[in-house]
């Protein structure tokens, strides 16, 4: 490690340090109570993935450069320079962490390992060791933000194709996917791909919602990459769009981190209060069902249905009951996974890990608890409102032969709506 790189890393720790993280680094008792909370440690038995070990790597550097006792007697804390070995392990442990914060839930001091890992990612990025794929995806999103006109025609023609399908499903030749609609009530920020737009468009159409679609996607690879500035700019793309259109509500799709970024982080990052509210699509769907604005019928979905709480909307976002209420409106045969809600196991697919090839092995191993839970539930349908969770659970489904249908919740909703072609809506 040359002096320049060392200085860069130390500078980044200094710049990113917050009171909370400093306290976390200073007080962790290395009691390892967090070990059984982390699906990756439980699934692999590998110390690299023990939450406090991830933090320990950062603590070793912190102790050496930011703590008088660590400077005086480094051996006592195994304080050291961030050499190649440290950075290699840091890369694996930080980019594998799904940011589920289940460790924080069980830690006697509520230590938020995800926030410590965020400093680890910043250290890696500072010396050019950030995860490449996530970085590229983040830059692509930023490029699109700066050059949206270049993409407009392709996007709009894509929306037209989906619109045709929506017309077929609803049997209404007037059904539309409104683009750039000034003064609409809702701006729906979907994911890349028709699957997250079509069912939402059907629901909005049937409920008579005044909505418009965003030209941007809600997914935020800047956040996964570990660069809060990029993350902010990626979210800013649709926040600015919402302001320009004067909507009352920004609705994010079935994507966990998109909700947390938009609802929990964005205002603090941007240092401004948003003039509209931010909702998850299932909060809206729950509202529409309860207001009687859409009709759903029980009996259309066959088999026992269970529900997975995506960490970023549940433990980290506070949405527990609305999706359950939606699912319960669709079936009488609903069963919760055990444990659930705040104690729900992370599926293992969060934090961008599904996009990282070299971590595929740990990712699949880390799903062992989710597989146990799913088997024990006896369900044949999983309602799962997060794209990354679905990708991971699809893999687990195949690997373990669970025979499960892994579905978006809005797909199930459309399936339960009495529509001319609801069965093939998804």
């Amino acid at each position: 490690m040359d002096a320049q790189a060392l200085q860069t890393i130390v500078g980044v720790i200094d710049k990113r340090m917050t009171r909370q993280v400093k306290q976390y680094l200073d007080i962790c008792a290395r009691c390892a109570i967090c070990k059984d909370a982390c699906h990756q440690y439980v699934g692999t038995d590998d110390l690299t993935y023990l939450p406090a070990r991830r933090a320990e790597l950062i603590r070793q550097v912190y102790k050496k450069y930011f703590d008088s006792a660590g400077r005086l007697v480094p051996a006592l804390y195994e304080a050291r320079d961030p050499d190649d070995a440290l950075l290699d392990e840091l890369y694996t442990s930080c980019y594998a962490c799904t940011g589920c914060r289940r460790c924080m839930y069980y830690c006697p001091f509520s230590i938020d390992t995800q926030q410590i890992v965020a400093i680890g990612k910043a250290m890696l990025i500072a010396v050019g060791r950030g995860q490449e794929m996530l970085g590229q995806l983040a830059d692509a999103a930023l490029f699109k933000g700066e050059n949206v006109e270049m993409f407009r025609d392709v996007l709009v023609s894509g929306f037209k194709d989906i619109e045709a399908e929506v017309r077929e499903i609803t049997g209404d030749p007037e059904a539309t996917i409104p683009v750039d609609k000034q003064g609409a009530d809702i701006l729906y920020v979907a994911l890349a791909g028709a699957h997250s737009i079509r069912p939402a468009a059907v629901i909005f159409h049937e409920a008579g919602v005044d909505w418009t679609i965003s030209l941007f996607e809600a997914a935020n690879y800047g956040y996964f990459f570990g660069d809060p500035e990029k993350a902010r700019l990626i979210a800013k793309r649709f926040m600015d769009e919402a302001k320009r259109l004067g909507v009352k509500e920004v609705v994010v799709p079935e994507c966990g981190h998109a909700y947390r970024v938009a609802e929990i982080f964005y205002e603090a990052w941007a240092k401004e209060a948003l003039p509209f509210k931010v909702s998850h699509i299932l909060e809206v769907v729950d509202r529409l069902i309860k207001q009687g604005r859409i009709t759903v019928e029980k009996g259309r979905i066959e088999g026992r249905v269970t529900y997975h709480d995506p960490c970023q909307i549940a433990r980290n976002g506070g949405i527990y009951e609305q999706p359950r209420d939606v699912v319960r409106a669709l079936t009488d045969d609903f069963v919760d996974l055990i444990p659930n809600r705040a104690e729900q196991w992370c599926c293992g697919g969060g934090g961008g890990i599904v996009a990282i090839d070299e971590l595929r092995d740990v990712r699949l191993k880390s799903g062992s608890k989710k597989v146990e839970q799913l088997k024990a539930s006896g369900a044949s349908v999983l309602a799962c409102p997060c794209e990354n969770c679905r990708l991971q659970i699809e893999d687990l489904n195949e690997m373990h032969g669970l025979g499960l249908q892994v579905r978006q919740v809005i797909d199930l909703v459309v399936e339960a709506m009495p529509l001319p072609r609801s069965a093939s809506a998804s």
């Binding site: 909370q20 200073d26 962790c28 290395r30 109570i33 320990e56 006592l76 839930y105 929990i264 527990y320």
Partner: protein
């Protein structure tokens, strides 16, 4: 003997008091002067009111119900240790001032045997908990998580407890003599009473205090600052 006790139980105590309070002061100052993250770190469900948040923080800090759920055995030993340490602390307050009511009720003999029992139980529980921790750390699958700091602290703690227990179980010196010594420290007219010096536990007091001095001097520079920090971080949980 006299020099040993002078170093560990008189001048060492003053030095320790200074290092401990100054060290904790510096640590808290460092925390207070580092800007908070503008982003809330709280997790859900969150209490809605400030009172609710403080109640949850106190519950999480003093009872740690979630830790109990996930590793009941570790939680049990941790609880035993901290409660016994609290009892020992309360017991040691007799060094400052004899309890107001209890000795009158129990009589001198009764008070001595009550103290022997209470102190003996607390001391034994603490020792058992520390031995469990050493074993868990040394033989657990995650043993490589530990760093020398962890063992140093456990070693010092074990020294404090073993020597304390030695005085408790084998000594024939009672609270009054120790109080005379400790009050002399508080009044800055330090001296060690003859009774202690000539007893069979003079050297255990010296060694007990040696470990106490080292333990408390190291405290502010170690992970033990969780004694203060845990209140802040458990409050962050609901921000």
């Amino acid at each position: 003997m006299e020099t040993y006790l002078q170093i560990t139980s008189i001048w060492g105590v003053y030095l320790t008091a200074f290092v401990f309070f100054a060290g904790m002061g510096v640590r808290i100052y460092q925390w207070a002067t580092t800007p908070r993250s503008p982003v809330p770190f709280g997790m859900f469900p969150k209490p809605a009111t400030r009172g609710g948040r403080i109640a949850a923080m106190l519950r999480d800090t003093f009872v740690a119900p979630h830790s109990a759920q996930i590793e009941p055995r570790m939680w049990t030993f941790a609880m035993l240790f901290h409660l016994a340490a609290l009892a020992a602390f309360v017991g040691h307050l007799r060094l400052v001032q004899e309890y107001p009511v209890l000795p009158k009720l129990l009589g001198t003999e009764g008070m001595n045997s009550f103290a022997a029992w209470a102190g003996g139980i607390a001391g034994t529980l603490m020792m058992v908990a520390v031995l469990y921790w050493i074993g868990r750390r040394t033989f657990g699958a995650f043993k490589n998580l530990s760093v020398p700091e962890d063992y140093l602290l456990l070693g010092l703690l074990l020294g404090v407890i073993v020597m304390g227990n030695h005085m408790r179980f084998f000594g024939d010196v009672h609270a009054a003599e120790y109080r005379a010594w400790f009050q002399s420290l508080l009044l800055f007219r330090p001296h060690i009473p003859e009774e202690i010096m000539t007893s069979n536990v003079g050297w255990s007091l010296g060694t007990h205090m040696l470990f106490v001095d080292l333990f408390l001097m190291y405290f502010p520079f170690s992970k033990l600052v969780h004694a203060v920090g845990a209140f802040a971080t458990n409050l962050t949980r609901s921000e």
